[in-house]
């Protein structure tokens, strides 16, 4: 997989951006790159990059996250430290952008630096199983809203079709026509396919740019629930 110096993940909220961003940062680190990840989400106070702080630290990935992330206050403020991602060009930077246009406004702060350096990939994370992006046309609408809010054009698409623990390889494969249509409408390539690792194992060789995702187990999965574990929605 070829990497740009800055990789941004944005999209509809709940499309899987944070899980992908974390796993992509871990991948960069495994490839021996000096990696940093920044949580730019100041809209949704839950499901934070910080939930994976231990794994990221262990892998030597630098985590920059809002001071009050995972606390009992909802204070939408970004840390000054996040500028390191655009200023320190020796880093491989991953930016986890907040959901929808509302989440992407904060990105605008960094857009001029990212455009000036022009060594970035802005990936749109798409999941057709989400209710407000059921069609490629609806996804395109969200894409345009995010671009308008963040001031940064998308350059790639990520197929993250999933139904949480009910995801099967078919869920991902059946989304291919959707992704192709979105690609046609937007003129952007489908760069990556991400899937929970047990599903990804069955997709090897069938999809381009496969990124297996490791999710955290949560303790209110029901005993009768089958399938791979889901991301833990809140820190406990």
């Amino acid at each position: 997989m070829n990497h740009k110096r800055i990789t941004l993940f944005a999209g509809h909220y709940g499309s899987g951006k944070t899980n992908i961003a974390v796993n992509y940062a871990l991948l960069l680190s495994r490839e021996g790159k000096k990696t940093a990840i920044a949580d730019l989400d100041i809209v949704n106070p839950y499901f934070r990059t910080k939930d994976s702080a231990a794994e990221l630290a262990e892998a030597g990935v630098d985590l920059i996250s809002p001071q009050f992330a995972n606390s009992n206050v909802d204070l939408p403020a970004l840390p000054a430290e996040a500028y390191r991602l655009v200023e320190d060009k020796s880093l491989f930077a991953v930016m986890d952008v907040g959901g929808d246009d509302r989440g992407a406004y904060a990105l605008g702060r960094y857009t001029p630096f990212i455009l000036e350096e022009n060594n970035y990939r802005m990936a749109f994370v798409a999941n057709p199983c989400r209710p407000l992006t059921r069609t490629p046309e609806e996804a395109l609408e969200v894409m345009r809203e995010i671009e308008a809010a963040g001031g940064l054009p998308f350059t790639a698409i990520v197929n993250n079709a999933n139904l949480a623990h009910e995801t099967t390889p078919e869920t991902v494969l059946e989304a291919i026509p959707y992704m192709e249509r979105l690609s046609l409408l937007s003129g952007l390539p489908v760069w990556m396919t991400s899937a929970e690792e047990s599903v990804a194992a069955k997709l090897a060789g069938k999809v381009p740019g496969l990124l297996p995702i490791k999710l955290q187990r949560k303790y209110f999965d029901l005993p009768e629930q089958k399938g791979p574990p889901q991301a833990r929605p809140l820190f406990g």
Partner: protein
């Protein structure tokens, strides 16, 4: 198989409400339920509905009162401190016998508390919250699927009994995502001859009001209302029983706490402890009969709650203190893990032997 979508609990409520025929949403944003308003803002204009962000919670509940009086399927949603502000309106709605649908995605309290999940509005939801003698139907979903199905149920029950149906969820269920289907949505419709729809000079005008100048009239009204509440208690209790057949210890939990508890019950069973779970789905009407019957067989109860012990009072009342009831709890946005519940089950089992 019906089409499955991956939804957040809050989105599931909004979509289910629309499918239940709700075309009027009035609200004011507050974490952790804002996705309901966001979803409505996006969808309502496309289907000829009304989304209105009011100037306050108090304004929004009174808009609900007005639309309900006009016979509309209408809703509002908020989280703990916001529901306190809506208390006055909830009382007026009850006093006027109009149907409303209200969602409380609870966060930590009291006061401004915090944004993490909680179940500490149990008293507020089941015992009043607003002033006066009144009840609300209180539904406690434990999954994203139930956020959807109980929303439809809530609209149906509100219209059927002319009262407020409230979803009492918490930040976790509001925020978590699970695959669901809307196949089981069964929308009931009820005639509303009392509604303020305009007489067109063809009938006597209707009055929706909660003011009674004569005390005997107000008393009669209150007695009538409680007769209606009695039929709700007789007919509308919903409860899940899990591994209760041979249970000696009974865990009682609702909402997200019941999911943690269920995992602990499964673990305890593996250790040979005869334990089961009773999960009230309606918190009012409370499943008194099921608990009373359980008390004849089980020797000890454990209440698992995300508060300082609120439902536990209703459990003790239901079983008339005939068995010991212990509390396993976390508050302030913390969630017990299955090991903590397991320890409480073991402790309760010791009392049995």
């Amino acid at each position: 198989m019906a089409e499955r979508v991956l939804m957040k609990g809050n989105e599931a409520i909004a979509e289910a409400a629309i499918r239940a025929g709700c075309r009027h949403y009035f609200g004011y944003p507050i974490t952790p339920q804002t996705e309901i308003a966001a979803y409505m803002a996006k969808k309502m204009p496309k289907i000829g509905g009304v989304f209105l962000q009011a100037e306050s919670e108090i304004a929004s509940i009174n808009m609900v009162y007005g639309a309900a009086a006009a016979g509309m399927r209408v809703m509002t949603s908020s989280s703990s401190p916001g529901i306190s502000l809506k208390g006055e309106g909830l009382s007026y709605i009850a006093g006027s016998d109009v149907p409303a649908f209200v969602v409380n995605v609870q966060r930590g309290g009291p006061g401004l508390g915090g944004i993490q999940p909680s179940q500490s509005d149990y008293f507020q939801a089941t015992k009043g919250g607003g002033h006066g003698d009144y009840r609300m139907i209180v539904l406690a979903p434990a999954s994203v699927q139930e956020m959807a199905s109980l929303t439809v149920k809530g609209f149906n029950l509100a219209d059927k009994y002319l009262m407020t149906a409230m979803i009492l969820a918490d930040g976790t269920i509001g925020q978590m995502m699970e695959p669901i289907t809307f196949e089981d949505v069964e929308v009931e419709t009820y005639d509303k001859p009392w509604a303020l729809t305009g007489t067109k000079m063809q009938r006597k005008h209707n009055i929706v009001n909660s003011l009674y100048l004569k005390p005997d009239e107000l008393e009669r009204k209150n007695f009538e209302r409680y007769e209606r509440y009695k039929t709700v208690e007789e007919n509308e209790v919903m409860v899940e029983e899990y591994m209760m057949e041979d249970a000696e210890v009974c865990v009682v939990a609702f909402g997200i706490a019941s999911r943690v508890a269920k995992n602990a019950v499964v673990q305890a069973r593996k250790e040979g402890v005869k334990v089961g779970l009773i999960r009230p789905i309606t918190l009012w009407p409370f499943p008194k009969k099921v608990l009373r019957q359980a008390a004849e067989r089980v020797k000890s109860f454990v209440c698992v709650e995300l508060n300082m012990g609120q439902m536990i009072e209703d459990v003790r009342l239901a079983i008339e203190c005939s068995r010991p009831v212990s509390l396993c709890n976390r508050t302030g946005g913390m969630i017990p893990d299955p090991d903590q519940v397991l320890a409480s089950i073991r402790e309760a089992q010791k009392g049995v032997n």
